[in-house]
């Protein structure tokens, strides 16, 4: 079985957003680029599955649709333990564009399981995984918090609105993962970093695909008015204020 993990290259989650150029972009100076947190956990889960005794998983590949700037992120994924990496050499124009590029690669390479994160922490799209599965016409299991392989069969835990499910699916399929898929992301060790230099990172030209949407400009949220303070000893006043002034209770 082969697993493909889709890796989105995003600013570190503590990045402060400052808009520039008439709000048409944000300031990228000093931004630290990381593997999207969900994708890091997806990769960690894939590695754990591969390391299980008698695991049917033979290969873990990672893919990113992005320019050369994203290569350090892919190298990090290799250092963490992926076997090989693919970069589709194009700007990630929109979710559809990215999904369609990945779909081309999947069609040519035949992966059994494709892992995506529930969202990229930059544009919070929650889109690529679902689109990819539709373009491939395969099942997608979304909001996955557990992925297991038992006797060659895939079993998943999934969160739905108002509960959880345990389900089975045919392969190939796309799993869109969230909290719970792995506890802590695996950190690359020195040996891994050394080995990553020798692992293959294939660069593919993009397929001819048109994006369906585009980002125009940004808008900062309205600044909050100052916090109204209430004394600790009169905490009950808070409840009355929330009722009378804020009309929230």
């Amino acid at each position: 079985m082969k697993i493909l993990v889709c890796i989105s290259n995003v600013p570190d989650t503590t990045t402060k957003i400052k808009l520039v150029n008439n709000n048409s972009g944000y300031d990228k100076t000093g931004v630290q680029w990381i593997i999207n947190p969900w994708d890091e956990l997806a990769l960690t889960r894939a590695l754990l599955l591969k390391e299980e005794q008698g695991s049917p998983i033979t290969e873990i590949s990672v893919i990113n649709v992005g320019t050369k700037d994203t290569e350090p992120t892919l190298r990090k994924a290799l250092a963490v333990g992926a076997d090989d990496a693919i970069r589709v050499d194009a700007e990630a124009k929109d979710a559809y564009y990215v999904a369609a590029q990945i779909a081309e690669v999947v069609k040519n390479n035949g992966y059994d399981i494709v892992l995506c994160g529930i969202e990229s922490s930059d544009y919070n799209g929650s889109a690529v995984g679902g689109m990819l599965s539709e373009l491939l016409d395969v099942p997608s299991v979304s909001s996955v918090s557990g992925l297991f392989i038992e006797d060659g069969k895939v079993k998943l835990n999934r969160e739905i609105d108002g509960g959880t499910q345990v389900l089975a699916t045919e392969t190939p399929f796309v799993a869109i993962v969230q909290k719970g898929i792995a506890l802590d992301p695996r950190i690359p060790a020195m040996r891994g970093i050394m080995m990553a230099r020798k692992k293959p990172l294939v660069v593919l030209p993009p397929a001819d695909i048109e994006a369906l949407t585009e980002y125009i400009d940004y808008e900062m949220p309205q600044a909050k008015s100052a916090c109204k303070m209430i004394d600790e000893d009169n905490a009950g006043d808070m409840i009355r204020l929330l009722h009378e002034e804020a009309k929230a209770i």
């Binding site: 947190p37 679902g130 539709e134 918090s145 959880t164 089975a168 980002y215």
Partner: protein, 320 residues
């Protein structure tokens, strides 16, 4: 032409988000001159279906199928409804269900997708919608270049507006493809207020000190009819169940009122709650970052504050 709303129900009743989505769709339809069609999948009674007219739907397509959510099957039903009603815009919630279905529907129809929308389109030609980005740190305007569009809306972003419409209910016999996933087990959080649907959320952080201290927090939530939540370290410690964890790596919530009790207000926590209308913080450290984003605050010990909250809330409820 029409605007199609994918409604959701829970135990036979429409969720509040369905009415929000219809209100949103009605505003769009008023500008584009289309009609609003609601799609309902599941076992929902006639009276309940009729309710949808109160929020601007002029027609309901009722699909009786109530199989567990298989993304391919549900996507197929929605796509058939789009074709039947000649819908140009499909509207869903940005919850787990919407995240599962909206991108599939978008790719199937080759319709440009905007997820996490927070407002009605800023303009129709070009078609531009404002959406959340960087987990609430900023917004971005997205232009959709396709004739068909799919939008998923964040809960609590628009007001529910009652606009009574004459409504027709049509049983819709969509063709069902065979499901390739099979559900072995379902655990429903029945009888609870779902975090993602809650109007009020009472959330505790590490400042609550231990799992044993949660009784007053739960009591307070109970009186307010609120859901309970927590910060990540709290669920990591096992003080509270994982489904209560909110933030960047947990659930994203947008209630009317959010109580952050003993929560420092780390950027990753705030990312999950910044959509809240009103944020109340209780923290013994006056410099805690949570006060920078709070609307109301108390510098103090949660153990002293919570009993006073409970007494005041009881009084309020008794008088109303």
């Amino acid at each position: 032409m029409s605007v199609l709303v994918y409604t959701e129900n829970w135990e036979g009743k429409f969720k509040k988000l369905s009415f929000e989505l219809l209100s949103y769709a009605s505003e769009i339809a008023a500008q584009s001159g289309d009609q609003v069609v609601a799609l309902s999948i599941g076992k929902v009674g006639e009276n309940e279906l009729n309710l949808l007219g109160n929020y601007g739907a002029s027609k309901v397509l009722a699909v009786g199928y109530d199989g567990e959510l298989d993304n391919q099957v549900y996507t197929s039903i929605i796509a058939q409804a789009v074709e039947k009603e000649d819908a140009t815009i499909v509207i869903m919630s940005d919850n787990f269900t919407g995240k599962a279905l909206a991108p599939r529907v978008s790719a199937k129809l080759k319709a440009g997708l905007v997820t996490g929308a927070v407002a009605v389109p800023a303009s129709f030609d070009p078609f531009v919608v404002k959406k959340k980005a960087f987990t609430g740190k900023t917004f971005v305007h997205v232009k959709v270049n396709t004739a068909k569009k799919v939008i998923s809306l964040i809960g609590n972003s628009v007001e529910i507006k009652e606009t009574a419409n004459a409504i027709s209910i049509e049983k819709f016999g969509a063709t069902l493809p065979e499901a390739k996933t099979s559900v072995k087990e379902v655990n429903r959080l029945t009888g609870r207020i779902l975090l993602t649907d809650a109007e009020i959320i009472v959330s505790g952080g590490r400042g609550m000190k231990s799992a044993d201290n949660w009784a007053p927090l739960e009591e307070f939530a109970e009186i307010l009819g609120a859901a309970t939540a927590c910060s990540r370290p709290v669920s990591d410690e096992g003080w509270r169940p994982h489904h209560e964890h909110v933030g960047q790596t947990g659930k994203i919530v947008a209630p009317n009122l959010y109580f952050a009790l003993g929560i420092s207000g780390a950027i990753q926590h705030i990312a999950g709650v910044s959509g809240s209308k009103i944020l109340v913080a209780v923290n013994k450290d006056k410099d805690a970052p949570v006060f920078e984003v709070a609307d109301y605050g108390i510098v103090g010990d949660v153990q002293k504050v919570l009993p006073q909250f409970i007494t005041a809330a009881k009084e309020l409820k008794a008088n109303s």
